[in-house]
Symmetry: C2
Subunit: 321 residues, 2 copies
């Protein structure tokens, strides 16, 4: 039995959708036991189906690392503690990203040999059904060349064992494709990466989602800028498209004809169905869901946590490092 703790608080939409996601997930899977952590009175629908842990405090979105560690009665702290105490195999939260990453890192510690944990997420690409994983997208503000080398290893393991990509192609995010391109840290990392058989060289941000790469390695600051500029541009264009259809009755009629295509586009771009982002390199399986998680994204995230536990990625990382 795989045991997964789910933080039911801290989501933008409250706990209702999260509870629905847990119920949907349990309907389809009988190999998982869920520990639901949050306000007891909001979890009545889960009674008899989950282990319920009452921890009513909510970690604020902008919480710093020390703040979370002090909030012992928070759903987030209690969720991570369940993993630390060995009561669960994985933790899932849609609460404060900073709070969740820092409490997970501080409480679970990194796997022996891993210098730093990396925040990793699958991104949709131009090729339908193909995802590229990018790490670190923001666990750190800076990384050493050696850390980037470890990220390449962890990213390839994720790509192989969770996304099922055989012999994943690993690239380094850079400002040009030539080996001499890159930030000072990137250039040094390039040299270290040459010993990795999966490594294919530098890739520019404009080709990151083209589908050629399976794994892209970057420092946490740059990865965060990549993530957020892609997100910003996608939102801006989605807004323009909506406006284009709102002009008059004719354009609204036009919308009826293309809405299926637009729905398909949104689905391809939907970060929710990718199951969130993971903190790799810590002693435990840590999955972060987007702040506006709905039942479906929670379902997917719990499923990713389940897959990560089943694949025993932690042991694979330990052996690989």
């Amino acid at each position: 039995m795989i045991r997964i703790a789910v933080d039911t608080l801290g989501s933008d939409n409250g706990s209702k959708d999260i509870v629905s996601g847990i119920l949907d997930f349990l309907k389809d899977h009988d190999d998982v036991e869920i520990y639901a952590v949050g306000k007891k009175e909001e979890l009545t629908r889960l009674e008899g189906k989950c282990v319920i842990v009452d921890a009513p405090d909510i970690v604020p979105m902008e919480a710093g690392p020390l703040e979370v560690m002090r909030m012992k009665n928070s759903s987030m702290y209690q969720t991570v503690m369940l993993a630390k105490e060995g009561k669960v195999d994985a933790v899932v939260s849609s609460g404060s990203t900073g709070g969740f990453l820092s409490s997970s890192t501080l409480l679970l510690k990194t796997i022996p040999g891993v210098n730093r944990a990396a925040f990793i997420a699958p991104f949709p690409t131009k090729i339908k059904g193909h995802y590229v994983v990018i790490l670190d997208i923001g666990a750190s503000n800076e990384n050493s060349p050696e850390e980037l080398k470890q990220f390449a290893l962890m990213g390839a393991l994720y790509s192989e064992h969770i996304l099922g990509i055989k012999d994943p192609k690993v690239y380094l995010l850079s400002n040009g494709t030539e080996p001499a391109k890159g930030s000072p840290v990137g250039k040094q990392a390039y040299k270290l990466l040459m010993s990795n058989p999966h490594f294919k060289g530098n890739i520019e941000a404009r080709n990151a989602l083209s589908g050629e790469a399976d794994v892209i390695v970057t420092d946490g600051f740059t990865g965060n800028v990549f993530l957020k500029s892609s997100e910003g541009m996608a939102k801006m264009m989605a807004g323009f498209i909506k406006n284009a259809f709102k002009k008059n009755l004719w354009t609204m009629l036009g919308y009826l004809h293309v809405r299926k295509g637009i729905k398909e586009m949104s689905d391809t771009m939907d970060y929710k169905s990718t199951g969130g982002a993971m903190l790799l390199g810590v002693n435990g399986v840590v999955v972060k869901v987007h702040g506006n998680a709905d039942a479906w994204s929670m379902y997917c995230a719990i499923n990713v946590a389940r897959k990560l536990v089943k694949s025993d990625i932690r042991t694979k990382i330990k052996e690989g490092i």
Copy 2:
């Protein structure tokens, strides 16, 4: 009379569109003299209207700094030399970005007091007609906190004198809005920037194009990743939209109803009409046009060069530093 040298080679589309752009520009402006540099036989339409400089070699797209400096007969080298020798006030090229930036920096040198030149470009925002300038988007691979401070000053001058924004709001690109966020260099830059009255704090990449910022400062590596990830995502979404309309006769009919709106969106997103990117901080006005420049983008770029000369931004930077 403002004298502008235009490199007519190195564009993806050949010199024909560039020549058309020059002709269109000259029709509307009588205060500019153009030096057209390139293959003489391709410039016959300009005879009697421009000073024609025969320099038939083309700098390859992937040229390194030393390579350009050796290609004395190239249109790019000759164009920049005209500025170095004081024969023109500004230079415009759509050729190799790396080659153009490096030859301009090496030949023209930075303005006394300026540590490093910055590559700056205006980006369209959610607010129609409002542009945010971002620098450095790739002249350097790394920058010191002091350099970022100078970029803030140069960016504000550009925003004020070229885009006509009074009291421009300057932000630092970061991975969070709190002052403690950022890369190690960014955090130090934040402290130096506090003395700049235009400085409003950190901004995340997802809000860079929201319209709240007039100037965004970043190091060249991160700025380049921002530029290219925004570009990549915009292209990917544009591709999805086109596919949505191609499904069947009904969706193609739908397109007829929204094409005006989509045209408006493309216009807002059109980097061509923004007049390209500029190298600020060197002894001269240097304007880079996108590699697939058409007549209209060349027209706009020459006009930006004209405005930069007229506003005497070089003296303003010198005084500001």
